[in-house]
């Protein structure tokens, strides 16, 4: 037995050590072809991802936008590819990073429309052509390019336009990509947002931005959730099969970022205190980013509370059906419960959003509440059922024999005893539910986790947002547990002094 433990531990240590990367000599790398043999972090589903996948010998690490720089910083990847415009605006030197080479997959970003929405697309193209010819476009781009990272007036640059009553509202799917689309002081801003606002004003549309994961944009467009993709998307053959692309509105390319040659590791740059302080400032104070977190927290709390209520209702209903003596009722209920418990929650959520409610305008929040309600309702119903079955039949019989009706017996005799056994078990499930709400980002809801993702995509710093989010989730779980414990104590039978 002991020998096996040793072997297990040794094997684990070996595996862990294998995941660490050896330092590579990066000096000879000057282009995409030279990346063979190196590990490269890219945003999942981005055009860099597609490009690198076709080059044999490159170890592609697909991550979220927020994790790319951190991966290089921590040595988990040799390179990462981010937008060169963005790379220039970030203070890379302070993080011990540098741009190795530029102009990767030099290309142009286009807006995406549904195939059948060619009228809108041509309107947009006409607008672009117009400002290009009149020189407005160049002036406007220069303004943005000259702005620095800390540009205080970034939000002022964005053209705001009033909604005109009665105009068609365009639902625009975006992914937070600095500096094209980002949040500043909790307001959406960036070059692309500015441009699109101007277009909408000229064409007489109202506009409504919704934040999606990059990989979810095309499904969202095709299922009718959004009308326009405005997310610095490049035109590729693959994408063009599903999306009608506009003319290019911005030119750009990728920059390969690696650790700078002088080999300053992040640990030596500054003391832990300084780094914490920096991280705190960057992730919360600057541009009032805490407001985004606070909004996200509120959304998480709201979804959690509504989902728990929905799950309890669904659970009671399913439990009632499941415990029916008629097989015609209990059998289908059992199957539904097994199905719901057999599908991963994330898949249920996506199914509800992109398939079942694809064509309706129901918001992600309500889809999430319904999904969580159903999924956890299935779990709750089984908890309720065991609780009910743990109350002896004799208790029912005693109530009935004394002349209480069925419902009175349930209400006064069985339920108090069942609840007493249900609550402790339910506690774990409820806390699991709260933590599980962190996946709602997939259906365009900005909750606590998504808010931290957005901040991380902007600051490209993993440490502080993740720690903060963890702490908040722990607090939420702890408070919920405490509340349920108080309830449990209330329900515990107590003797009376008479």
């Amino acid at each position: 037995m002991r020998r096996w433990c040793f072997i297990m531990i040794a094997a684990m240590l070996w595996l862990v050590s294998c995941t660490g990367r050896k330092a590579h000599d990066l000096s000879g790398v000057n282009g995409v072809e030279d990346l063979k043999g190196y590990s490269v972090a890219v945003a999942m589903g981005s055009s860099y991802d597609l490009m690198l996948s076709e080059i044999a010998g490159v170890d592609v690490i697909r991550l979220g936008v927020g994790e790319l720089l951190v991966a290089v910083e921590k040595g988990r990847a040799d390179f990462c590819i981010i937008d060169q415009f963005q790379a220039r605006m970030l203070n890379l030197e302070s993080r011990g990073l540098e741009i190795k080479f530029n102009n990767i997959l030099k290309g142009t970003a286009c807006a995406g429309f549904r195939k059948e929405d060619s009228l809108l697309c041509s309107q947009f193209n006409a607008y672009l052509g117009g400002i290009r010819n009149s020189g407005v476009y160049d002036r406007w781009l220069d303004e943005w390019k000259s702005a620095s990272d800390s540009m205080a007036d970034a939000s002022l640059l964005v053209h705001r336009h009033e909604k005109q009553p009665g105009s068609r509202a365009l639902h625009v799917g975006i992914t937070i990509t600095y500096p094209y689309l980002f949040l500043k002081e909790n307001n959406l801003t960036g070059i692309e947002v500015d441009m699109f606002n101007r277009f909408c004003e000229a064409a007489g549309y109202a506009v409504d931005y919704e934040i999606y994961d990059f990989s979810a944009l095309i499904p969202a467009l095709n299922s009718g959730k959004i009308d326009v993709i405005l997310s610095h998307m490049r035109r590729t053959e693959e994408r063009a099969k599903q999306v009608l692309f506009s003319d290019a509105y911005i030119e750009g390319g990728g920059a390969a970022v690696c650790r700078s040659g002088d080999g300053m590791s992040s640990g030596e740059r500054a003391g832990i205190r300084e780094r914490l302080k920096d991280s705190f400032n960057n992730n919360l104070i600057v541009e009032q980013r805490w407001k985004l977190m606070a909004d996200g927290l509120w959304v998480t709390v709201r979804i959690s509370v509504l989902s728990i209520l929905a799950a309890v209702m669904a659970g009671v209903l399913l439990c009632r059906l499941r415990m029916s003596r008629r097989r015609m009722v209990s059998l289908p209920a059992g199957i539904v419960i097994d199905l719901l418990r057999g599908i991963p929650l994330l898949v249920i959520l996506m199914l509800m959003f992109y398939v079942i409610f694809a064509s309706s305008r129901i918001t992600g929040t309500w889809v999430a509440v319904m999904s969580f309600g159903l999924y956890y309702g299935a779990y709750f119903s089984e908890v309720f059922r065991t609780g009910m079955e743990s109350v002896e039949r004799g208790q029912w019989e005693a109530g009935l024999a004394l002349g209480l009706g069925k419902f009175q017996t349930f209400r006064k005799v069985v339920l108090p005893q069942a609840l007493n056994r249900i609550i402790p078990v339910l506690k774990g499930e409820v806390i699991a539910l709260i933590k599980m709400t962190s996946v709602v980002g997939y259906v365009a809801v900005v909750d606590l986790t998504k808010a931290s993702d957005i901040i991380r995509a902007r600051t490209l710093d993993a440490f502080f947002p993740l720690i903060l989010v963890s702490v908040i989730y722990i607090l939420l779980s702890w408070l919920t547990g405490l509340g349920l414990k108080v309830l449990e104590r209330q329900l515990t039978p107590k003797r009376r002094d008479l």
Binding site: L402, P493, R496
Partner: protein, 359 residues
């Protein structure tokens, strides 16, 4: 007060088989009577009792309470149940309530009593069953006997017209049986109408005004305690009352397995605590009877009966196809017969071919 006609109850086993527990029950319970239901286990005594307040749904038949057909769908069974208390084998006190709250829950919910009123009456009843001090306790803190007394008090709190007792002492330690029986006796003395299913024969005999002996799904025999206990009319009743245990063996011919039979006798005697001495005696008598006296003009059926009540042992040897009496045709000086007579109190031949030996 309660009239039962042609009551039938069939249980459906999970395997899909049907098990008829009550075939055709007819009985009446009048006001002021204490009716006890006795019978071998598995004859549906509890089922009958539970049909009376419809905790068990009868398959067919009629049950009338004060002229109301309680099996009629339009009858509000809850109203009937309020007037019929029930005491369960496993007490079934409400585990989440204190003893006093157990007593006050239903009067407050169903009879519209105020809390003060219900608690005052509750304390009186607890005093009556000797649990005044336990009013604030939870059921889990009480002994079995105390729980059952509390359960009886809970019944009484609803001021019922009849109480059904479903084996009220079966789940109790022997030491606690008497305290519960004392409470039930007290109620009987006060003239409470009761229907009791119990295995406590002495108690049943003392407290009942009438006894129903249930067997094979019908009321097999019915009468006053004297009739049933002193002078039962049917052999099954007699066997049950005297708690007679039997073992049977059929011996085809003279070449039967004697040692196999000895083993069987030994086991039987051991089971009822008769000791080796008695068992040896039975074996000797059996050997002499079968090897020396019985003519074996066909199979012989041996029945050994032991009454736990009188401790009497009876061996019956029945010769099939017997044409002549056996004892008269046996030489009185035969060694076997002398030995048998020596070891027993009486050897008789009540009918031709059947010899009874009593020890």
């Amino acid at each position: 007060m309660i009239k039962v006609r042609h009551l039938k109850k069939v249980f459906r086993t999970p395997g899909g088989d049907e098990l008829t527990v009550l075939r055709d029950i007819n009985c009446d319970i009048e006001k002021g009577e204490v009716v006890s239901i006795i019978g071998p286990s598995g004859t549906g005594k509890s089922t009958l009792l539970r049909c009376l307040n419809r905790l068990e749904e009868p398959t067919s038949g009629v049950i009338e309470v004060d002229g109301t057909d309680i099996l009629d769908r339009r009858t509000d069974i809850s109203l009937i149940r309020r007037r019929m208390g029930m005491v369960f084998q496993n007490f079934n006190l409400f585990e989440h309530l204190t003893i006093l709250d157990n007593l006050t829950l239903c009067p407050m919910t169903l009879l519209g009593k105020s809390r003060e009123e219900a608690e005052k009456r509750g304390m009186e009843l607890l005093g009556m069953v000797g649990l005044h001090d336990k009013a604030g306790c939870l059921p889990g803190e009480l002994s079995g006997g105390q729980k059952q007394r509390a359960a009886i008090a809970r019944c009484l709190a609803m001021e019922p017209e009849i109480i059904l007792f479903d084996e009220p002492t079966s789940a109790l330690d022997p030491t606690m049986v008497s305290e519960v029986l004392a409470v039930i006796r007290h109620l009987a003395n006060q003239g409470m109408t009761m229907c009791i299913v119990s295995h406590e024969m002495q108690f049943v005999r003392d407290v009942s005004t009438r006894i129903l002996f249930l067997n094979e799904g019908i009321v097999y025999e019915e009468g006053t305690p004297e009739q049933i206990f002193e002078n039962p009319q049917k052999p099954v009743t007699r066997a049950f009352i005297n708690r007679i245990r039997t073992v049977e063996s059929i011996l085809e011919n003279r070449h039967f397995d004697l040692y196999g039979l000895f083993g069987k006798i030994h086991t039987f005697c051991g089971k009822y605590g008769l000791g080796t001495k008695v068992s040896d005696k039975v074996e000797h008598i059996t050997e002499e009877m079968l090897c020396g006296i019985m003519p074996f003009c066909g199979p012989v059926k041996l029945t050994i009966e032991y009454s736990e009540k009188t401790s009497g042992l009876t061996l019956t040897f029945r010769q099939e196809n017997a044409t002549t009496t056996i004892l008269d045709n046996t030489d009185e000086d035969s060694l076997s017969l002398m030995m048998v007579r020596g070891m027993s109190t009486s050897v008789t031949e009540p009918e031709t071919g059947t010899v009874c030996v009593e020890i």
